[in-house]
Amino acid sequence: MSGITLSASIRQNLLSLQNTTKLLDSTANRLSTGKRVNSAIDSPNSFFTARSLTNRASDLNNRKDSIGQAISLLQSTDKSLSAITSLVEQAKAKAQQADEAATGGVNNITTEKATVVTGGTTLSTSFSANATAAGALFTDIGGTAGEAIAINLNGNATTVNITITVGTTIASVVSTLTALNGITAVYNTTTNQIDITGNGGTDVAIGEGGASLLADLGGVKLDDIAVAADATKTFATANKDTDLLRDVFGVTDAQTIITRVTSGGTSTFTSEDGGSAAPSTIADLISAINSGDTALTATYNTTTSKIDVKAAEGVAVDFSGTGFTALTLSDGTNSLVAGTDVTYTKLGSAAEVGALTTDFQTLLAQINALIGDAGYKGTNLLKASATLDVKFNAKGDSKLTITGKSMEVDTLGILSGLKFTQKATDYDFETAGDITAAKADVDLAITELRTVSSTFGTSLGIIQTREDFTKELVNALESGAGKLVNASLEEESAKLLALQTRQALGIQSLTISNQSQQSILALFR
């Protein structure tokens, strides 16, 4: 039937009729199987290709599933890190509060400890056998009127001279000696000796004045002998009532410590080393401070060998002093240097600070617990340096290794992975030093958490990009496989027409936002 010329409209109708018939047939088939190509018989080429494409798609799906596991792990880890960061920020707030409330409570006066001198010697004089009673005259026992016994205590420049007169009795010598603070003199009738003992902390040097009176007595020549302080007192067992500031803290003579409560009382303490008055004990200093104002409480801490001075809430205290060198007043941050004044204005109550310490310690414990719980399906990237290999292909040579972080407490109980420097229970906001340490540590922890989050975030981004790419590829292939065309001529024509139409419509611009590569490629115009 060649040679027939059809009109345009009839041609169109015929074409669409043709297509419709074909469509009806294939639709019926498709509906029953859901697949365009039912069996190899329909279209061998398409069937086998569809098969291999489905296999390819399922291989890609498998890769996608294992990537998905890694993504879930990283997302779960990220959530844990956020929760931990929030706890660290709460801990930071506690430390800051403690700082503002401040530990005005305890200002420790730290001191340098004096060297404990050994010794403890009793000097004894010996007299001639004639002296049998304390009432015996010194001159009877060989002393010469006008002679002097020079006594020098504690290396003082002052020397006390006892001048023997005609009527001087042994007893009076003894009592003069005893009246000198720091020594005990006793007339020992058994041995006929005057026993002179330095009291704890007193060095006694008995020198020869004029004629060596005592030396002449009984033939024992007394040279300059230093009687050292009692060596049995150590700092741990220092008794505030009897032990001297000099022994325990190295305070020498005439040093003043002045405590001043703003709008309150003042106490002035002047140290004595036994030269002209009884040597100062720790208790003396403490009571002097306590006497200044009722807002102040000074106590001797035998554990730390420090004098703790507590101020009541809202009280401003300042310490000053003149001329002392061995004594340093400090609260861990500020020190009083000889000759200068330092004002301490820290305020606070011990109860508030104690509560903040407890909160801080609790938060640290909670942080450790969260780290322990950060795992997902048996892998915890925040504990004991776990690593995860995410394979991107079947061979395994295309992969990403994610290294975990060890954040939980170490063998010393310290969250060292988060840059904390003490274990939770060691932080005590009663101590200014611990507040400073806590504030520094939480800042380091926050920085560390940010760094770790960022590293995991980068890995997550890479993996998610791959997952998205794989998903899109699978979708495109599956939709293509669903449309696999039979090699029929009408559809072939339609395909060719479609391609040509697209060409005729012109190529759309790609709007690629990749400046650097575009500029390189542009060089090749």
Partner: protein
């Protein structure tokens, strides 16, 4: 694992992100480490990418020059837009096979091989477009009163 690169006089290429042009003598280079290398004949500029398959080549080229799939996220959307379009126009087994290979090679980090597959797609497209010469230019206005080509008329009569 070095790559030997022989450049003709004045030949251009991209080596490791540098746009390089040879002098007026033959040059023999040895690239010792793994880096992006693209010879002049394989470089496609944006202006030259005037068909769909060439545009696909262009985008895969960008992915390659960016350093692979992990570094080229901004180009993935365009890549998939283009391949979907191609699949929609021609969901044939040949096309699907090539596109599947391109995608998988990009995933495996074999971008250079993916470019070779893109060249196959360009060839395929070229073959189809050249067959259109037989049919003649299409008139986008379907109401135009023109005679159908003879073989199409024969099909109509035979297939009804």
């Amino acid at each position: 694992m070095g790559l030997k690169l022989n450049l003709k006089p004045h030949e251009k290429c991209i080596i490791g992100g540098a746009a390089v042009q040879n002098g007026n003598k033959m040059a023999s280079l040895m690239i010792a480490n793994q880096t992006t290398i693209l010879r002049e004949k394989h470089i496609m500029t944006e202006e030259k990418a005037d068909t769909l398959a060439k545009q696909i080549y262009f985008v895969v080229q960008l992915i390659y020059l960016d350093g692979g799939i992990d570094n080229s996220k901004q180009n993935h959307e365009i890549f998939f837009k283009l391949i979907r379009e191609f699949i929609d126009l021609d969901p044939s087994s040949v096309v699907l096979e090539i596109i599947a290979k391109i995608g998988q090679q990009i995933l495996d980090g074999e971008d250079y091989q993916a470019l070779a597959q893109c060249r196959k797609l360009i060839e395929y497209e070229k073959a189809i477009l050249s067959r259109l010469d037989d049919i003649g230019p299409v008139d986008v206005n379907p109401q135009a009163d023109k005679a159908l080509p003879a073989d199409v008329v024969n099909q109509l009569e035979a297939g009804s």
